[in-house]
């Protein structure tokens, strides 16, 4: 992100846009993993709180994801408490406009693939799902996740490992690969997660379902 945080702190919109485009999708998916009723609202509240507190934020671009995911988690917890006090009825999700230049089918398949992946992630126990989400989606290291969740880095490491192992054992996860190989499900644009994980892996442990 370069100096995006510094630019956003000085009111430069390009800094904000860089941060937003880099973090907003993962922030929404993380909030969905937390089973928020309205992830968009909580994400907007998260960004608003981040804007307000940005002058007091002393970290750099590397610290910004941990900071904003911490804010998002607190907002999600607050929303869950409010929801428990005043239950609400959900409304069907409004289909967003498809941007020009992309096919509707591709966009729908992409959205379905993302939704299915999040749904698979939420099948894990809550602590494992959140740890894996912060690890995969936010790209945080174990120490940052531990500070957010109030656990030790070792516990986070074990939690992430168990979560990924459990996911790999699921048949529907294996079906993902089969469907991808057969071409029945179009693969979304390659994110940086799996390839980067593969590239950065040093191979001292291996997940073998």
């Amino acid at each position: 992100m370069g100096d995006a945080v510094a630019r956003a702190r000085s009111g430069d919109e390009t800094g904000f846009l860089e941060l937003w485009h880099g973090l907003q999708p993962r922030l929404l998916r993380y909030l969905r993993v937390l089973d928020c009723d309205d992830p968009d609202d909580i994400a907007s509240e998260t960004w608003l709180a981040a804007f307000r507190d940005l002058p007091r934020f002393r970290g750099g671009d590397e610290d910004f994801p941990r900071w904003i995911f911490t804010i998002a988690r607190h907002r999600a917890i607050d929303a869950a408490r409010a929801r428990s006090r005043r239950p609400t009825t959900g409304v069907p999700e409004v289909i967003a406009a498809v941007p020009d230049g992309s096919g509707v089918e591709e966009e729908v398949l992409h959205s379905l693939a993302v939704a299915r992946a999040i749904a698979l992630l939420t099948t894990l126990p809550a602590d494992q799902a959140e740890a894996v989400a912060l690890r995969v989606l936010a790209g945080l290291d174990n120490a940052s996740i531990a500070s957010i969740l109030g656990k030790t880095p070792g516990a986070i490491r074990v939690c992430v490992h168990r979560g990924l192992r459990a996911l790999a054992k699921r048949p529907d996860v294996q079906a993902l690969a089969a469907a991808r190989r057969s071409g029945r499900v179009s693969a979304p644009d390659q994110g940086q997660g799996a390839d980067q994980a593969q590239g950065n892996a040093r191979g001292n442990k291996e997940v073998r379902p």
């Binding site: 960004w47 490491r157 992430v160 892996a201």
Partner: protein, 300 residues
Amino acid sequence: MTGEPFDGLRINDPGLRALITDLTSPATAAERAGLDADLTAFRAVCRSRPLPPGEARPQPRRRRRLASAALTAAATVLVLSGGFAAAAYAAVLPPPLQRVAHQILGFAGVPGSQSRPPGGSHQFTGSRVHGRAGKGRGATAGRPSGSPSPSAPGSRSASPASPGPSPNPAPRHSQSPTPQPTSPTPAPSPSASRSAAQVTVTLGMAPGPGKGIVDLLASAPLAQQGDMVELQDWTGGQWKALRSRRLDKSEQITFSVALRRVSVTYRVVLLATAGHGQAVSNQVVVPARPHKSNGKGSQG
């Protein structure tokens, strides 16, 4: 982003790789829908919060232009007000403005239109012939309404110089002592008009012959021997004539005055004659006499 994504876990399972690929895929259209709202919130927050020190907010050109215009206007106002204050302090403003300035800036020592001896330390050039020239008459005839008049009470040269009822309805005591050539004056004689010349008179101060006495030396190089010079002091808000003497052959005259308990401002007035007009000298401030207890001599 921070750290390695999976803490050294090798993702060999294709299903897990596909799952992670889906999770980290680019944003969908629905996920990008909130950009406008968040950008609006970002702009609102940036406008409402102060900038941290050392960081400058990018300003549109129009705002910079307005700021420049405001800066120019502020500088102009500052210069004008400074000039007004300087002029007020020098007491060169017209009397109404001087009074206003005195009311506003009196605490800073700005004099009123009557409280300051006129002329300051400037020399007055007697380029105009006032009244009829002649011995003892030119001093009062045609003297402006605000000018010090020897006929004022206490003036030693009032009696011989008074021309009787003056055509000037203004009060005889000076309230605005700056010489003003606006009062109705008797028409100068043709000879006076012809011989009107600029004369100057200067006043200096030197130690006197005795203790507690100083000499005020009046010099009028362009005047003639025998021209009358009047010594005046600023007392009670007006110039009061103290004594009159004639210039000697070197166009000088010395007035010896005693030091008083308070400092006194003196000046001399070269009375108008047929050859020149009236001239007023610079002002000299004679300091107060020192107290006897300190045993020091007079200052200046």
